[in-house]
């Protein structure tokens, strides 16, 4: 038995250890969310593992990077559309990933003829029990899918217009009654999952970027590096106030300085005052 430490101190150490464990768990709980597509969601449907940089300003973007608008849920103002247009004209690549059709207004504003049509696509060309998880093949010639033969998608939507880049097999149908098999008046037919017009690409499957799907198409993710995510319009943010406060503190230098001062001052005061024992 260690002799230099009294019983009380040992108990204090044990309690401190447990409190530390609890604090770590609480921290992990508080700084992650379960919102879909969120950068702070470390679960399977978050995008925390996506190697991308968030940007809040669409002005003066680096044209070597790919701008990813992931599941947009906020409308674009005319000014922002203008910045996007400038970026496209300067040679930058924009990928709009949308499964619900909310990007259609943006596409119309940009003057594109491509539209996203949300459908419950199911295919027989799959190796999982879920009919919405299947493989599509790469058609067309583009650097986005260089070195990629097939892409595994996760309940995608169809994209109309533009030059097709990803096409499903012929044994694909729109499962209207949701029973997972072709029945009633459902017919087989190919669908286009991804189309492009110049530098603007519309991808009908935003699930390609969630944590669970990143390992399924590694070459594609590598091809679109470096990625800049438009965090104002994409659903990669979070409604969690604690995380947002922490972000705000990180980004505003005066706030960071204030927080640092808040942490250091008590410690300095504690060691600085005269001991009176």
């Amino acid at each position: 038995m260690p002799s230099g430490v009294t019983q009380i101190e040992r108990e204090a150490w044990a309690i401190l250890l447990i409190l530390l464990l609890a604090a770590a768990v609480a921290y992990a709980h508080v700084t992650t969310t379960t919102e879909e597509y969120s950068r702070y969601n470390t679960d399977w449907n978050g995008t925390s593992a996506l190697p991308a940089e968030e940007i809040r300003d669409l002005r003066n973007l680096d044209t070597a990077a790919t701008l990813l608008i992931l599941a947009p849920d906020r409308p674009f103002t005319a000014e922002e559309v203008g910045y996007l247009q400038t970026f496209l004209d300067a040679g930058g690549r924009v990928i709009v990933a949308d499964e619900e059709g909310t990007a259609n207004s943006l596409l119309a504003d940009l003057g594109s003829t491509m539209r996203v049509r949300p459908q419950n696509l199911a295919s027989l060309e799959r190796d999982r029990a879920d009919p919405g998880l299947f493989t599509v093949s790469v058609v067309g010639n583009t650097s986005l899918f260089a070195g990629v033969g097939t892409v595994r998608v996760n309940r995608p939507a169809a994209v109309t217009g533009g030059e097709p880049l990803l096409e499903t097999a012929i044994l694909t149908w729109e499962d209207g009654d949701g029973d997972g098999r072709i029945s009633g008046d459902e017919v087989f037919g190919t669908a286009v999952i991804c189309a492009a017009e110049g530098n603007l690409t519309v991808l009908g499957d935003e699930s390609l970027f969630i944590n669970a799907m990143l390992a399924e198409n590694p070459q594609f993710i590598e091809n679109i590096q470096p990625i800049r995510v438009d965090s104002i319009h994409s659903r990669t943010g979070t409604a969690n106030p604690i995380i947002n406060t922490r972000l705000w503190i990180q980004e505003t230098p005066p706030a960071a300085a204030a927080a640092a001062a808040l942490a250091i001052l008590p410690v300095a005061w504690h060691f600085g005052r005269k001991r009176d024992d």
Partner: protein
Amino acid sequence: MNRQVSHAVLAAVAILVLVLIGVQAVDPVLYAAKNISTAAHADPATIQKRSLGDAASLVPLMDDLLGQTGTLALTIKLKDYESAERDLARYNELSRRFDRLVVTLDVSGTDIGEFQQNNRQNQDALAALLNDTRRFDALQRLEIEVRGDDEQHMTVIYEGEALRQKMRETFSAYARREAATVRIAEHYEINATPYQESVDHFAEVADAANGWQEEINGGGTGTGGTGSGGTVQSPLVIAVTPVEGSYGDVLLIGGIHAAGKSGAPVEIYVDSRLAATVALDDDRTYVHSYRVGRILAGPHLAYATAGTIYSNVAAFEVLPKNTSITLSLAEVNGTAVACTGNLTADDGRPVTRAPVLIRVDGETLVGAETDGNGTYRADILLPAGEHALRAEFHAAGYPLNASESPTETVILRGEGLSPFPFAAAIAAAAGTGWYLRRRRSEESTPAAEPEAAPSPEVARPTPQVSIAGLPPREAATVLFCTLRARLGLPETKTPRDCARIAPAYAGFFERYERIRYAGETPSEEELTDMERIALGGDADRA
């Protein structure tokens, strides 16, 4: 007070927790991340993987089938019968694989199902074409040999006429199917050219038969296959009434043999297969009731032979009918489910001796057959849990449309408890108990002494002992010797022995044993306690 209350509280809480856990113990997996999915996507790590399946081979197989019709028709036209037999065998093999694949992939409700039906009919038609062409060749050679013999010549003519009619009817049916098949082929981006060429080859073969027939008839009024009969009329006539029927209907196939004798046998063929043998009546008529059973929908041909005389060829149509199939499930002894149901055509007629497939959980297929009343029954062994079953009738070879029952679910309880785990548990407990007991008895064997030790209940007057100034462990040793002497125990007794002999002071001796042998150091309070006990205080409080 504190001690006992806290022990009681601890025991109560422990029992409560054990009961709560025990309630859950029947289903130990309390929570598992299974099949997590949202509307937008599913977690692929939790979705069960299954084999890639043969969906990728479906469209290439359709391509192969169409290509094979082209080669087969060509070899028949070129009269290369050996290659044609081989091609036909390969075509049948491909068709079998295609049928199996369509059933496994559950796509028979789509235009692929229509393609499958057309393919079956094409299969029959091409097989009939091969046989007919071969026979026709033989007839052509035979006709030249028997030119002198009028009677034999006539029989050859009759048979030739019958074959010609057959080939013409078969060809018109084959050509009727071309439009639908090509449309489906284009939908799936399959090359339909070989198939279209096969139609052309078929037409040429049928025309060649026409040409020969005109030739041997002197080329008189025959201007090429217009209607039945031409200039040749066989004495044996056949007709089918009514001309149309569906599953279960009875068609009357019969006719007159102008040159026949009463009682002579007449063989009736449907689609080149012998359907019945009847005898001529006194008025030289014959009739047979033909029940429409397992025969494809569409046009069919019937003809008769009496001896060597062939009749003309009569065509009749079998119309498709819809069917409906029911399924009801009953659990049988927890591990099996009994499936029963009825398969009936739309007009209420039961479909007898027909194959029925039961699809379990969307993947496995179990076969059953309907009996004479259209009822089927199957017992399927399944693991415990919930299962979805559906009965399907794929009308392979029947003039009926496929049907399926609604999906029914059944929950199986699974087997009851088996005694093996309990036996294992008891054996393990016994083994552990035996092992621990053996270990304990080993420890106490060296110290086994005759139990007749002097009972040390009498406490002798305490000797004066002072432990002030001694180091703690030595003080403890002194106290131990004091107590041992006070209790009258011999000095050879170890602390453990003393604890056994004088259980009232067991606590003291155990504590001393730890101090002496395990190297522990007693604290001040402990020493005071021990001193009090050793010098004759109350019962042990160690």
